[in-house]
Symmetry: D2
Subunit: 475 residues, 4 copies
């Protein structure tokens, strides 16, 4: 074994996986030779197809088929990137639905004389439409770490599936399979504390997608007595979080993320706090993209916190507005400055020169935040335009342009407060111009808000947020 | 609460279920009134359809949809038999695949101009073929005991699904759903000991299908240090065994079930025993009929025993031949006596009169076993005909007639020894004429045996078993 | 292995114990030969003493000493009753405190010149007073089931320790050791439900000391949703309850044990019940006699029930008066009839003859309960005399005569209600003349009641109970 | 709550402790006021004594006594250092053994007429010698974290107990109590992996006493697949390691600690490794000083590794020689140079000047290791003198001078190999002159070695180690 101690390669899961699968595979005599060429030569590809066929035919019984699946998985892990892709293409091209069987079933359906005949034909058609590779994929689920193996395969596939119809179909087959297994009803909500396994906490840090975790001390602070973390898990992937959320218990809804993450801040008495602020939600598994748990997660966490801490009255997020800056830049490029005359004047005064082309010009110079007068002058137009972006800019179907806004509005939240200089990290300035939104979850209004948004694109927002739009007129 | 302490009604699961679901349902305002008429009046049926539609549309968001599913389940449990059936018929008739959508997708598929168009059409068609009720059923899985709820609904449906095409479709939809959730890869094998919860052991006794358990003492004996019990469980039904097997550790393959179950027998030293005899396998959940775990169970148990007890050399069953007696009676009715002249002579001598019509005549008088000479005379013809029944009688496809034999041969076992007076219980005599078969599992031969049987209907049997066939000629 | 399957001998613990200990012992070379004569011959006794000495000297290190302890325990278990007793006598006689060392330390203490010298002398004296066998006994604690082994040894010793001073000392040494290990702070309170291991429930049935459990159905009824059972466990004896209590959740304090145990009674809604009735407390380990947990058990269970079921307002026992009948008989024998004239008259009327010698005469004929008039006539004198027995009859130190009354009064309970015909089982009539007492636990009064009773022997009782005393005067 | 997030004060245990104890204490009315002055004023001291007396008298029953203990503990934690010490002095001075009772019991013992009288007198004396405060201390054990509370109190006491006889007695009382509770038989050996709670791993890093852990990455490397960590735990302190050991699985006994700890080293295949090297053992609880688990830990870990990894053949430590450098310096100071003439000559040649006073002179200049010739010249005398120090220098009782050597020799290990430049960390040079010893544990020799060393001070060492002594003569 020539892995370096610090190479990251010793990750227990990977090594154990290959060890365990090798053992299962070896229990059977005529399984795939494990010495495939790393790039999967044409000759090896032929062997592979044969092995996949044996698997599908259940040759030697179902137990043997699972051993063959282990051998296939073992062989896959030994391939390089090119070999892996050829492996996937083989599955995509050779084990799709059988066109002849589909067509025959279609004809049978069209000729069905009565209900019973139709039912039979529909059943046959449904079966014919299921690609044989789906059975192959299913056979991995019983292997140690087999479900995670499939999730990771989809993550890889997503990168290149768009390149061919067959690969796209394979990716979709895998998605359907995973969607059925990862139905939220099968998931388990767990609270994560400083008592959690180090191996798990390490993953949270790696998967955190919103506010990067800088190290173990930072992690520990996010698990302090006035903080909470919850994650969903699948029973067959007990060490892998699927999605997780970080919550701060505070007095009054927090409006600034740096203050929240400040390790020097005073502790809040959790039992007396009146608000729970969800300041970060991250999906951990790329391979589960498009399978949504976020809605359930927030509401189950609200339930759980209500029970633990009856003093909590308010549940809200502190969320980025990740598309705002991009929209602003593009719109100003296309349409010119969006500033009112008064706003432009104030900004030019602060800058000490005229000829300002728009807000983007100011934001593109990172030094703007050091000029207090400029910051003051920028507040009104940025808040106003952000409110406009969130409330008025829509996609064709009527949904809001901003992805995070769309997520929370779909879940039945309302826009509660837009916060100025709320995230002054580099990322916060670059994406959200430093602004953050509190989306508020009120149990009694969730259904109504959801229906209003889903049905007619109506956005529920506080008068404070709506009021920002009107600022312009008052000038 | 007016349930009687000993009414069996206090079963925690049932009561908790209704309590828990009521709570989930109540968390939402406009859910199904829980005061449906027990028989589901026509007016209530209309309300029900509306509620199901709301559920399917995801009105108020996915979390609300789950609350509606809880309300539906709660309402279902309050119905009487007639009401429950009307509930099911409603699902079957109103929420099947939409014929229009299916037909449109079929036409789109037929007209597909290229691969991409065909892929899209296939995807649409697959979606159209999935009945909306499948989504409804899925929504139960996240409720406490929701998976068991669905398993039990299928058990009910199986009793009357044959009465209409729509009900049969519904039953098949449910089966597909359950088959995907209960894939063997998701199941957990657990050993059951006398340390197991009383509530679980009570279920084993209730579900035992082969050799009835007479009480707690009997149960304890079957869990003695020289016995083993294993069961499969699903993570969402942790208290419900799916299938379980009882094993006796013995010296030499056991050939008599009464001796095995005798509470007065001496204990065997488990660590020194050379044979493991699987003397009973029972499926516990009617609602999972047609979803097979037996093959995996036996092989995983063999693996597990090998690890625990390295002295074990032989793995075999002691199995009934449940169709033998019926086949014998029917065949003699149709074709007359199957006895050789010599056999008939011996039997008539033992009876003390002539004119014997066949073996069935003898077996139909329960007293035959008290006549030692008769028993001796019956041995050869019964053993011979049983071997014939097992080895030569086939269904059209070439599989053996006997269901238990078919199960073990499919799994790759071979017929090792046919045992005389091996089960003298009333049931044993009535079904198997007291005979029992040892099916033997040899790891190295399983695949080969399986393929031989599956492919060409070839049955692997010991020369001792095959030799029984030839006895006739030697006469 | 020639144990019978139903001999009770296959109890896993016992067999495993000997197996495990044998293994530990064998890991060492020169340990005790396991082939001691069952009666422990004189020669074997000499070997034993040598082995014990080696153990005490820690020959080969502490780890070896533990292996020697295992060998000793293994040897002990193979002895017969006589051999075991000789083993114990050996420990008692050969490994007591060394008299010389004690005397020397006493002299050193008497001659101590200053505080420091005195402290050293006290320390030496304390050490000298600890018998070497205590170290031997301690070494068993780390063996599998070693703590249970010692508990069982004390149970055996208690039967014959009174026969010699040395045995009594050994028994007291063992008691001190166990008292320190079984301090209530180390114990764990667990609720027992129908989900508990069958092996544990079986023990509860075996250990139940107040109202015998008739079988598994009875056990299940006592664990119904309106019942509770709690037990204390020690971390080193996780499968062995130390003491357990059965509780019925009812409306109004129950006054009749047969009604409470009736399997046909209606279920009570636990969440709405206002009273918790402790109807049986049993010590499970004879070997822990004299080490008291009952006080803690009741109060911790009250705490636990308060949290689970906030509707509970009243906590009371339904307890036997086990010494009443004996006291009545003996007192009447010594002092003649205790009846008032009016009481005697009523009873004689009911009997239809005169010359009644006392209540004992009536109770000694089991038929008395079939005579309704007699039962009616017996009520007043029995209730009156029972109240007298409980309230007025004292031991020299002022404590009440009745052991159960003493237990609850010491714990701070008060006598709430005396119940007529409350336990009509054979045992109930024979010990308590069918009467039962409700001792009531009011959290606010417990300390006060305890102090009053402990300090001055003052018994807290309801006016109803006290009123029974005065009945006589009213005649 | 005004603790800083990063103050370290939010440690859950401490805060929960005070919260939980406050709750228990408050459940009782007349308990200690929690508003003691931080320094424990004289008035408060009087209150305290009263409360302690109430506790000892069991006023209000045993359950109340425990509540009082909680109040005492709560009050203690609120005191400052001076107050805490006054609290302890109060316990030491006011609640020691009652001199009168001891003296009376001594006289009774001296006057005992027969065995029975003597037994009684001994029992009374033993009781009189137990200080009442022991009962007080015992009452903490049932509180949440109560056992850890007492361990920490002893840790504090150890710092100043030598200042008075009474404090020393109190410290010894506490030690006896803890020694009985922490008997090795009650402890649980657990393997620690990267799956362990972060909170636990953080403690290992803090408690590591031999080779400091530099951070989480270092920690993770020490838990790599070719490393093992084991610790002992007490059931009442499940989150607190008592003692722990780090093991490296290697090929051939490792002789250099920096190589072992190097995060860039290649991984070893654990299943193929032939040696297990114990490279660090740390006691984690100062409060348990003098209660020894190390012997058991090493041997139980050897057992455990043997089972997991049958390829392991050799078990050895890689240990510092912490007293060597100090001995060398002091000896050279007292006796002058210990070098042979030839050694001195080589060293002076390497230094380039004469007049060397001894090895200490060289070692005291940290630059010596940069001079390769000097290093080469220093090797022989350092190795020789270290062997001499370890093998020949003894304490009065015959035990070796070096504490680590004494520990392993007592456990039955032998000195296997002395390693040159084996620990070049600052600490390694300063204490051990860079040398490390492999102590080897051979199961078959442990008892013999132990007895030889314990009995006659005979040290078992390899010929290679012994050979180092003779080098001098060969010059």
């Amino acid at each position: 074994m020539n892995e370096h101690r610090n190479s990251g390669l010793w990750d227990r899961a990977v090594r154990n996986l290959r060890g365990a699968w090798d053992k299962i595979a070896r229990s059977d005599s005529e399984l795939l030779p494990t010495s495939l060429s790393p790039e999967l030569s044409d000759a090896d590809r032929v062997k592979l197809v044969g092995q996949m066929q044996a698997c599908l035919e259940g040759r030697g019984g179902e137990v043997s088929a699972r051993a063959r699946a282990a051998a296939l998985g073992h062989a896959y892990l030994a391939l390089n990137d090119r070999g892996r892709r050829r492996f996937m293409e083989t599955m995509a091209n050779e084990f799709g639905p059988e066109r002849g069987a589909v067509d025959a079933a279609v004809e049978a359906l069209r000729g069905a004389a009565d209900d019973e005949a139709r039912q039979l034909a529909e059943k046959d058609l449904k079966a014919a439409l299921v690609a044989p590779r789906v059975r192959l994929l299913t056979q991995f689920n019983g292997l140690p770490e087999g479900v995670k193996f499939l999730v990771d395969r989809r993550a890889e596939l997503l990168a290149y599936a768009h390149e061919s119809t067959a690969l796209k179909e394979l990716e979709q087959d895998l998605k359907s399979l995973l969607a059925s297994w990862f139905d939220v009803g099968f998931l388990e909500l767990r609270q994560i504390t400083w008592q959690a396994p180090a191996a798990l906490l390490e993953k949270l840090a790696a998967y955190e997608a919103v506010h990067a975790i800088t190290g173990w001390e930072d992690l520990k602070h996010r698990l302090a007595p006035d903080r909470r973390c919850f994650a969903y898990f699948h029973p067959r992937m007990p060490d892998e979080p699927l999605i997780f959320v970080w919550v701060a218990l505070v007095d009054g809804i927090a409006g600034n993320i740096q203050e929240l993450l400040d390790a020097k801040a005073l502790l809040v008495d959790a039992e007396a706090a009146d608000s729970a602020v969800f300041y970060s939600i991250s999906n951990a598994q790329t391979g589960l993209r498009g399978i949504n748990f976020g809605d359930f997660l927030i509401k189950r966490v609200v339930d759980s916190l209500c029970k633990e801490l009856p003093a909590l009255k308010t549940f809200a997020t502190l969320s980025p507005i990740p598309g705002f800056r991009k929209w602003l830049t593009e719109t100003e490029e296309a349409e010119g400055s969006l500033l009112t005359d008064a706003e432009a004047q104030s900004l030019e005064d602060a800058l000490g020169h005229s000829g300002l082309s728009g807000l983007s010009e100011i934001l593109s110079d990172r030094g703007w935040r050091n000029n207090e007068i400029l910051v003051e002058a920028a507040k009104q137009p940025l808040m106003r335009l952000c409110a406009h972006y969130l409330l008025e800019e829509r996609r064709p179907g009527g949904t809001t342009l901003d992805s995070v806004a769309h997520f929370h509005l779909s879940n039945g939240a309302r826009m509660d407060r837009l916060n100025w200089l709320a995230d002054t990290s580099r990322n916060g300035i670059e994406q959200s111009a430093g602004l953050m939104m509190n989306y508020r979850y009120r149990l009694g209004d969730i259904e109504k808000n959801h229906e209003a948004y889903r049905g007619g694109g109506e956005i529920t927002a506080s008068s404070a947020v709506r009021g920002l739009l009107k600022v312009k007129d008052r000038q």
